[in-house]
Symmetry: C2
Subunit: 199 residues, 2 copies
């Protein structure tokens, strides 16, 4: 069926990652409060990068690389699962589980592609380059938007406090001071509407 081993590996990978659509997050969609999955989330992040990149602290970020990063950043959850960001126990061993998953998944690809994707994923995780910091910023901002516009569904369900959301999201400032200003306003709005506990 495949004209080369290389193409077979690439198609095998593209088939395998269909499973990202099965990984559910705690955040729900605005319209019907269905849980969002990781593929939808990754698409939405890519759109946030496209639309909001002008607000990155570093005006020269490589938008293309940032988009590639957000498109692949959650693939490891196909094996490792999604960990709710306020679940301290679930986070134990997360790094190890995800690194193992990255190696299994990306090694389906031809070797030089595998290396490119592992490098992208490691860059995202390390949050040190301006691109990774901006990617991390939109990865925090997007669920804030969904939470606010779904009337605080996931926050109310888990009894989340304002201080937890601040603690979780202040990293946004490293990627974008302007988006962190926005995020703080969204959080205050959520408190005033009773979606978040004011503590």
């Amino acid at each position: 069926m495949f004209t080369s081993e290389r193409l077979r590996q690439q198609i095998h990978f593209l088939r395998e990652i269909d499973n990202l659509k099965q990984i559910l997050r705690q955040t729900v969609l605005i319209k019907d409060q269905r849980q969002e999955n990781d593929a939808e989330h990754s698409w939405h992040l890519a759109m946030l990068v496209m639309v909001l990149s002008e607000y990155a602290n570093e005006s020269t970020i490589d938008i293309f690389r940032t988009i590639k990063m957000v498109l692949i950043h959650d693939l490891v959850e196909i094996d490792a699962g999604d960990t709710f960001c306020y679940d301290e126990q679930g986070r134990v061993g997360k790094v190890e589980r995800e690194r193992k998953a990255a190696h299994r998944l990306f090694s389906i690809l031809p070797s030089e592609m595998m290396q490119e994707y592992i490098d992208l994923w490691e860059e995202f995780e390390a949050m040190e380059t301006p691109e990774a910091q901006f990617a991390a910023a939109v990865d925090r901002l997007q669920p804030l938007l969904l939470n606010l516009y779904s009337e605080g569904y996931a926050w109310k369900k888990h009894g989340i406090k304002k201080s937890q959301v601040i603690e979780r999201n202040y990293h946004i400032a490293e990627g974008s001071k302007i988006l962190w200003e926005l995020a703080k306003n969204l959080i205050d709005e959520a408190v005033s509407r009773g979606y978040l506990i004011d503590a």
Copy 2:
């Protein structure tokens, strides 16, 4: 809540397009035969572009622009809905409905961004540039893969014939001769497994 009218428009757009996750396609996911939605599909296409761009007929295509095109290509379906590609009646008036949708959606954005997105979408629709031709190729190949690996679920449900699939998909060759060779092999495999009617 917003520090500028520009940022308010951008966030409004990013909120509005959350609804792409509500638009169901006929194709189903490999693992559980759930219908795929347009956001998942758009993410998957971006991954196909990343992984398979080496097979584009034109070796110099702008991969970044191609990815942007596939990320936004289905947004018009938020208003216009998804039309099953083998539904001849459903296709009547599709172009007009989608153009109207493009203008409503993209005009939520600041005006120069609106123009950029309308241009990208028009480029995709016209299928004339090498980027648009490659984007169209992966837009055809991805459902072929899902159909084959979900044991022909959507094809069998609608009693689809091999000749219909060939007719629908031979445009792949304009973007990538190699991926069209692959597609023909996938189609033959589907016929031999009884997923497609051999006619």
